[in-house]
Symmetry: C2
Subunit: 417 residues, 2 copies
Amino acid sequence: MNAEILAVGTELLLGQIVNTNAQFIASELALLGIGVLFQGVVGDNRKRMEEAISIASNRSDILILTGGLGPTDDDLTREVIAQFFNKQLILEPDLLKQLESFFAGRGRQMPPNNRKQAMRIEGAQILANPRGTAPGQYLALPSKHVFLLPGPPSEMRPMFVESVIPILRSLFPNQTIQSRILRIVGIGESAMEEKVRDILDAQTNPTIAPYASEGECSLRITAKADTDARAWELITPVEQQLMERLSRYVYGRDTDTLPRVVGRELTQKGLTLAVAESCTGGLLGEYLTDAPGSSSFFIGGCITYSNEMKQQLLNVSSQTLKAYGAVSEQCATEMAIGLHNRTNADVCVSITGIAGPDGGTAEKPVGLVYICVYFNGQTYARELHLRGDRNQIRIRAAKQALQLLWRVITGTLETQS
Amino acid sequence: MNAEILAVGTELLLGQIVNTNAQFIASELALLGIGVLFQGVVGDNRKRMEEAISIASNRSDILILTGGLGPTDDDLTREVIAQFFNKQLILEPDLLKQLESFFAGRGRQMPPNNRKQAMRIEGAQILANPRGTAPGQYLALPSKHVFLLPGPPSEMRPMFVESVIPILRSLFPNQTIQSRILRIVGIGESAMEEKVRDILDAQTNPTIAPYASEGECSLRITAKADTDARAWELITPVEQQLMERLSRYVYGRDTDTLPRVVGRELTQKGLTLAVAESCTGGLLGEYLTDAPGSSSFFIGGCITYSNEMKQQLLNVSSQTLKAYGAVSEQCATEMAIGLHNRTNADVCVSITGIAGPDGGTAEKPVGLVYICVYFNGQTYARELHLRGDRNQIRIRAAKQALQLLWRVITGTLETQS
């Protein structure tokens, strides 16, 4: 069975928003082993919607529409799908009540327009939307499966996970797909592939797919089987094989991120963390506090953009700034030590560098960044040569600092790196 | 004339990347006054590409394809378009030389595969790609215009601006489209519309379109005319009319952003800025240092996530923390004053609040945030009730702080707000 994703919305055609829904749905379908051969976008226009639905329904078994379920006259998806498949629209008293209580819960009366959101396509199953007023619908036809989902990602994503995935799974009752992701840092994608090439090549079920993203990479092990237990029986030995070769690079699994893993590790060990940032201007602190619960390990730190601040807040010596400059291993080291002295945090991380586009010289080019971690009376400094634009250099510097931090606190630091 | 955007690439169908190219091209076409009725995505598959091209070319005058111009066997766009429109592929010696020198410039020999990137579709014009190996192509057919553009946004975007826009403009030699964007803050989209409703309704050329984004809104004035000068004659009086009503909310024009405008203002006035961040964890500092040149006004600051750091780094009194708590106007005010005392920055901004999802109480719910600006011996504090998830609350808090900062330094602060 193949699926097609059709987004409805003039704001997409005008380029006012990016169609992140298509990417989300496509990646979820890939995990389910359902192929997507086409994606499309069409405006809030009855005739062109019919045209797009006709083309999609001729070539795909599963049709997933996003958007056009709102209360305004422009929101046509329900009506057009009902008409296209010769179905009635039926007012559902229960849905109407839910909508009214959604508004009542916010201290407002339901506008009359929203009444149309209580209309169910004849034969369709309603998909609950606790986060908004647009319920989804699932219409099962002989050899055709049509899903109508709301456009806002904050409503569509949970509905997809909670309602659509269980339905899609039920279409393949004797097939399950499970996967495990290994999150990897400190080794490039090709070097990683090199180390496990024979394992990758030997597998057909589970399959192993390498991915690369900004500053890290991952391996996804995916198994198809008739039961979940059987799928995991296929995955586990392959995961163990990979771990034997890569364990020192694997910082986490599945939905782990480096800031969360670092935070978990620090919290478990009862250690506090502080940051001293120059060229990243607060980005590392932002990464570390992105997840809830970061106050259990993160205490704060200093943004020392100017040399004066490096001296005043972190006690970097004027001799160091004169002799080596603010972008130097010596300065990064003094920043980390000075931060520890100032805050008494158990672990202190510093970043100083040239993010560009200006400020580079032949000796110290744009992309030269020094990071340092202070822990247990020791400092661990690294010189980085980062590529990319200002934004990329800042992101990569913060990620490299997280990585060094993770290695230091887990005791997996290479002596050479 | 209508355009259709067709992205080619299996990685899009697998959800591995987001189709930001479609959004970029669509917004550029909207500025040119060219309508987009459909967008599509198809994989690297000859038969399905032909199918998608056939559908698109039946219903649209301008066809813009992205992706599939690389050197591998999977890259089929050139071949499929040539075949579909019955054209030969011709090896271009000049292109081949350029490719070879592209590789030579990087100290490498050109792999034989890349030779196919020197193939020009018969009758097509080559669009230069100084940033990569995939040149674009423009095929003008009787009543059909086909553009082949590379997939990587870093190559596609400049090629679109440098080569595609001039060609599209030349298709309408007696028509130019110019626009002016007014960047607005401190007033909601509907309240803004209310204030200028009569001006909006009275216009057909230029048109005025309101937009809303996270924490701010904008008005885009767009005029069509036969010359640029004539277009600006249409825009200017309307811009003046709007400014008469909205000047106190307009912080900038066109590509201005609030951090850049704040930075420009501070630099012009010779003022230095520092930040003290609690719940935003460094986000405000990151915003302020996002643009190059921020070192001319931004000196740094403190991330004081824990109460201890608020006391140690910013001298917030333990009485204040005990009596009012860390999330209070008193604490925000002491943070701003303490930061000034610590850093001697002319302007100091503080943020303290509850970003959630945990940590809220009936009295102090998630979303309660206090911001304060210190300037010239005065403090200006505000209580905010922000909605959204943790991430949104943090972004909105940082943007509101930027806004308050801008009002304070420009002297446009409302006494009530």
